[in-house]
Point group: C2
Chain length 243, copies 2
């Protein structure tokens, strides 16, 4: 079963190799999603034991990225992939590098949490970053789903979502500055949530990157530095190869 309906491959074996690469990526995506969920639970419930587990999960994700890179290279060396297959392999390798960085952010949250004195591990202090984190989790989930279904329209929808997280993040920073100015005793506490908020924003950015790879996969066009209206125009004027 080839769920990436791009190109027809003469070789069944090659097909199954590509399928395997894709499955590896989605497995990695599942682990990364679980890590974000766990990081959010750490913050919501003040769960220190779970915070310790985040670093361990990150090492597993790192190993998966290395394995994916190696598997991708082997396919490239042994086969002579057509342009569209090459695009698929590239997109998978790039997405895996973004997922690895998302894993880094989640484990950074765990380490930060563990570095706090017990009295600062109060879930009440993380209310706002948890909201940012839920938004980040949503768009990572959506981005992986769009990748699995090679759905450029879904990817475009998520690209627009990311601008919203960026806006929320900015207003979160402005609010944090206000808190600190009003009551300097909160500075240290506000700082902790600022670092976590920054990780959430970056998770959103990686989701955005993954969506851009989906559009690259379907339209063959690198849209990393394009505005969303330019991407929309591309999608209206050029039929996707998977449509």
């Amino acid at each position: 079963m080839n769920q990436f309906p791009i190109g027809e491959h003469i070789s069944q074996e090659f097909n199954s190799e590509l399928g395997g690469l894709r499955r590896q990526l989605l497995t990695m995506g599942g682990l990364v999603e679980q890590q974000i969920i766990d990081a959010l639970r750490v913050l919501r419930e003040g769960d220190s034991a779970l915070a310790e587990k985040l670093d361990q999960a990150d090492q597993e994700i790192n190993q998966l990225e290395i394995a994916l890179d190696e598997a991708g290279s082997h396919i490239l060396v042994r086969r002579q992939p057509a342009a569209s297959d090459l695009r698929l392999i590239f997109a998978i390798l790039k997405a895996s590098s973004d997922l690895e960085r998302v894993g880094d952010e989640a484990s950074k949250i765990g380490r930060l949490f563990l570095s706090l004195p017990i009295q600062e591990r109060d879930p009440a202090g993380f209310h706002e970053v948890v909201r940012l984190g839920e938004a980040a989790q949503n768009i990572i989930h959506g981005a992986l789903d769009a990748f699995a279904r090679v759905d450029a329209n879904a990817a475009l929808t998520i690209l627009r979502e990311d601008f919203r997280i960026d806006r929320d993040y900015e207003s979160f920073i402005r609010q944090s500055i206000t808190y600190m100015m009003e009551d300097p005793r909160t500075i240290r506490r506000v700082f902790n949530s600022l670092w976590i908020g920054r990780s959430m924003e970056r998770i959103g950015d990686h989701a955005k990157n993954i969506c851009e790879y989906v559009i690259y996969l379907v339209y063959g066009k690198d849209v990393r530095h394009a505005r969303t209206d330019e991407i929309e125009k591309l999608m209206h004027t050029r039929p996707g190869t998977s449509k």
Copy 2:
């Protein structure tokens, strides 16, 4: 002249294509280095006109990354590169993605600077981040140099440097928090330099990534998640392919 002494290619044409790819990367590296230098000048001299130019230079760098990706794909499609050549192409493409992000950080510094009210553009307020930035510039320069010379030993030296920048960055943050607590009127000003300091730290991280690709190029081993002592051990027990 092939300055990448890895593998002997039967085809002269292929050789010159690889050389071209490499030159494109080094051109990109030169532009990125200049952008860091310009960002530092903006901070040192309060030069608003130059700050505006940073964004423009970033767009040029973005286009270079896209062009490199395309050139790399074409080579992969047309040739059947041997494992060592594939490694070179991979390393170039990965390094170009890091350079592109360095360019993003530099133009972010320009935008932040321009968003400040005139009285906050005072170079006196940026003294500490400029020091961080000089260290970042140094290690980017060293990383590009190690890449150009495929010098794994130089790359390892720089990997150790990056830990020092990370330490300096952390003490900079601790100091910033102290300033704010002592005089809450400085909060907004300190925040500006915090964002800039964060960009400098990330530039250091990208330099570190580039060094890891050099070691990957020479030793064929992905060391992205290895500790420096593990890398040293690898370099002592396994002769590099370029040695």
